[in-house]
């Protein structure tokens, strides 16, 4: 009995020692885009982890044990906010019980709290589908928002890790310079896309559409979060024809069937945009995300 107790204590002690791999600020991001931004702005001084990957729907994630362990040791929680993660993040926060990353703390950064949020509903009722009372949370697809957030993130990193202030400042300056140049490039390419009528699967591209000036004609989902139905798609067929919709957009985690069916009926393209980056994406991935997104839209626009 005594020996087994000793063994248990030894194991517990072994587990309690932090592993050496965990150097630098531990950043828990809910979606891959925020991990990527953290790597862009924090460089080698941060260790960014993404709770979800590009093929997962960030609305519905299980509060799995590994995420509790990650929150438990996080220095910064970086998420979209606006209730996107309401089904799982608050539970993780309570379970992980890390005081430095709770709402209001420096270590709690919600993107939607720092950029202008679109589509704030005036009426909230479950019969309207899965509406977010805080507005549309998919804010990262407007590059201007990323510029704002890189600054806020850098400010937080400096607060959390003052000895590396100079490093973070230089890193932010470099990122902002590159980002501005890149944004000018994208802007000049997307001006000709302005006014292009599109249909989207879910309201995942609102910020992209707003930035480019595309025209969102309809969503394939009957209501947010409620899958497309045959009758809804048939109605869309008529309105899409009359409005000359050019392309149907979806994310990698939206099911393809509805957009492929409607696109084939209309003789237009069903386009899967990357929506976000790889979970382990190296720095620079966000710029490549916009490069690719703009290129795909250009291609769809050029098609007859």
């Amino acid at each position: 009995m005594k020996r087994s107790l000793g063994f248990v204590l030894a194991v517990a002690w072994g587990m309690a020692l932090p592993s050496p791999a965990a150097a630098g600020l531990q950043i828990f991001s809910c979606e891959p885009e925020w991990a990527a931004l953290a790597r862009d702005v924090g460089g080698e001084k941060v260790n960014a982890f993404s709770a979800t990957h590009a093929r997962q729907d960030p609305h519905h994630i299980r509060a799995r044990p590994s995420l509790i362990a990650k929150i438990r040791r996080a220095d910064l929680v970086f998420c979209s906010g606006a209730d996107l993660e309401v089904g799982w993040l608050p539970l993780l926060m309570r379970r992980g019980a890390r005081s430095g990353v709770q709402p209001g703390a420096t270590g709690y950064l919600m993107a939607a709290e720092h950029v202008p949020v679109l589509e704030k509903p005036t009426l909230v009722d479950r019969s309207l589908g899965d509406v977010h009372p805080g507005g549309n949370p998919h804010v990262h697809l407007d590059p201007r928002n990323l510029a704002i957030l890189s600054k806020e993130l850098s400010r937080r990193l400096i607060q959390l890790d003052p000895p590396n202030t100079v490093y973070y400042r230089n890193r932010l300056d470099a990122f902002q310079r590159d980002w501005r140049t890149a944004m000018d490039g994208w802007k000049s390419r997307v001006t000709k896309l302005s006014g292009l009528p599109v249909i989207v699967h879910h309201k995942s591209f609102t910020y992209l559409i707003n930035w480019i000036g595309l025209k969102e004609v309809a969503t394939l989902e009957v209501k947010p979060g409620i899958p497309p139905t045959a009758s809804h798609l048939n109605n869309l067929l008529l309105s899409a024809r009359s409005q000359k919709v050019k392309v149907i957009l979806r994310t990698p985690y939206d099911p393809a069937e509805a957009s492929v069916w409607l696109a084939s009926k209309l003789g237009i393209a069903a386009l899967m945009l990357p929506y976000t980056v790889d979970k382990e994406a190296p720095p620079g991935a966000l710029a490549r995300l916009f490069d690719l997104t703009v290129a795909l839209l250009e291609k769809a626009h050029a098609e007859p």
Partner: protein
């Protein structure tokens, strides 16, 4: 701003007070004059600034009243959301079922079963309708209350399922530590800490029915600690009143304690698992079962292990998912049993029994799931004197096969059809069909893994 102004004025008053002391009068007249001039200038400057500030304040006030005047014309519902934002979240679970059983009775051979552990009622009935209120109390505490309204013996009764407070991170406990006090579905195996409406089957497996009387939710306190490790590891334990099954009739009010350890992690991007071991040790002063016919007095110790594994083939669990779950439980009863129906009288009893279940759920389309479950109990030996009583299994080990299919319209509404083949004693088998709906209204907190 005003406080700053007052402070600066005080400084001026003190300075001018000093300037008028006899010592100052005796000082060089030129010095005094320049000092006075400076003070005058200072005074003027402050007067100017005060005027500016007052102007600004007025402007602000005007703007504010303008906005306030505008507010009613903007959407009223926006304001409503804010009006009740300090109220607790309210959630309601509606739960109804239609059941058909081929056997009239359902006794589990070799075990005394509590009221909640019995088979549900036949025909049309409401399940437990739950009403939940929860909110953060302040920056340090969280509170939650769940009342279940159930039909028992022809009348509707309110059962307080949970009423607890819990520390929030920031309550001053070390990182990773939590304390919970009150009445709650305590940590013991997988199912016990979950509300039944979130279960994958319409009824609980034999292990939880027999050993926990569906769920252990005694009054007590529980502490838990998540270790600061790369993978998930949590330890915890609690002390309880000892009134709830497997305890009962607590005299000291401190009749049970528990301890547990859990670990878990991910395998790649799309699989995760959790493993736990648990114990719950109760000093049962009087544990009634089989409609108060069977009474146990003594020490009742439970041990359990659970494993849960989830796998989403594409990583997106909303479309396709496989869940595997199993729990093993063992009970050591050391004390006396009395079966009044069989007229055994109070006899010594020191035996162990164990049971387990395993279930698999397959979500093959976003709205559709199918599942299968097997649960089995291994009854204890029958000591001399208990032959023919409820504790006599006659060498039979109770078992149940279950299959189910459910359809989920949204995450808030679900219908389920389940078939059970129960063989709980030496008699005929019981074929059961259960059709069930579970609807969730309003706020509905996330379910733990």
């Amino acid at each position: 701003m005003p406080t700053l102004f007052i402070r600066q004025m005080t400084v001026i008053v003190i300075v001018s007070g000093l300037a008028m002391t006899p010592q100052a009068m005796a000082a060089d007249a030129v010095d005094t004059r320049t000092l006075l001039q400076e003070i005058q200038e200072l005074k003027k400057r402050y007067e100017r600034r005060t005027a500016e500030l007052e102007k600004k304040l007025k402007k602000l006030e005007q703007n504010q009243s303008k906005q306030a005047g505008k507010a009613p014309s903007s959407s009223a519902s926006v304001r409503n959301i804010k009006d009740n934002s300090f109220n607790p979240s309210i959630g309601v679970i509606l739960n109804g079922r239609a059941s058909n059983f081929t056997r009239g009775t359902s006794e589990i051979a070799g075990f005394g079963v509590g009221e909640e552990g019995e088979r549900g009622s036949e025909g049309l009935s409401l399940g437990e309708s739950e009403l939940n209120f929860s909110a953060n109390v302040d920056d340090k505490f969280y509170g939650s209350m769940t009342a279940a309204i159930v039909r028992e013996d022809g009348t509707d009764k309110v059962e307080l399922e949970e009423a607890y407070m819990e520390t929030l991170p920031g309550a001053g406990l070390p990182d990773g530590a939590r304390a919970k006090a009150g009445r709650a579905l305590w940590t013991f195996g997988y199912l016990n800490e979950h509300h039944a409406h979130g279960d994958d089957f319409a009824d609980r497996p034999l292990t939880n029915r027999v050993y926990l009387n569906a769920a252990f939710n005694d009054d007590g306190v529980e502490m838990s600690y998540v270790l600061p490790t790369d993978y998930y590891a949590e330890i915890g334990g609690g002390v309880f009143r000892g009134d709830d099954f497997p305890g009962g009739g607590s005299v000291s009010g401190l009749g049970a304690w528990s301890a547990y350890a859990r670990t878990g992690g991910d395998i790649g991007d799309n699989q995760s698992w959790r493993l736990g071991i648990y114990t719950l040790q109760s000093d049962a002063n009087s544990r009634a079962s089989n409609e108060d016919a069977v009474t146990f007095v003594g020490q009742s110790n439970l041990y359990a292990a659970d494993l849960r594994y989830t796998m989403a083939p594409t990583g997106d669990a909303t479309k396709q998912e496989i869940i595997f779950q199993t729990e093993l439980m063992r009970r050591d009863d050391d004390g006396t049993y009395n079966d009044a129906d069989a007229g055994t009288g109070t006899l010594n009893y020191d035996e162990s029994s164990f049971g387990w279940y395993a279930q698999a759920i397959y979500k093959f389309a976003p709205a559709w799931r199918i599942g299968a479950r097997y649960s089995r109990l291994h009854a204890a030996d029958t000591p001399a004197g208990f032959a023919g009583s409820a504790l006599d299994s006659e060498g039979h080990d109770p078992e149940t096969y279950s299959v189910m299919a459910d359809w989920t319209n949204s995450e808030f509404g679900r219908f389920r059809l389940q078939y059970n083949r129960e063989k709980l004693d030496k008699g005929d088998e019981d074929n059961q069909f259960i059709f069930q709906y579970v609807m969730s209204l309003g706020a509905h907190g996330a379910h733990p893994y």
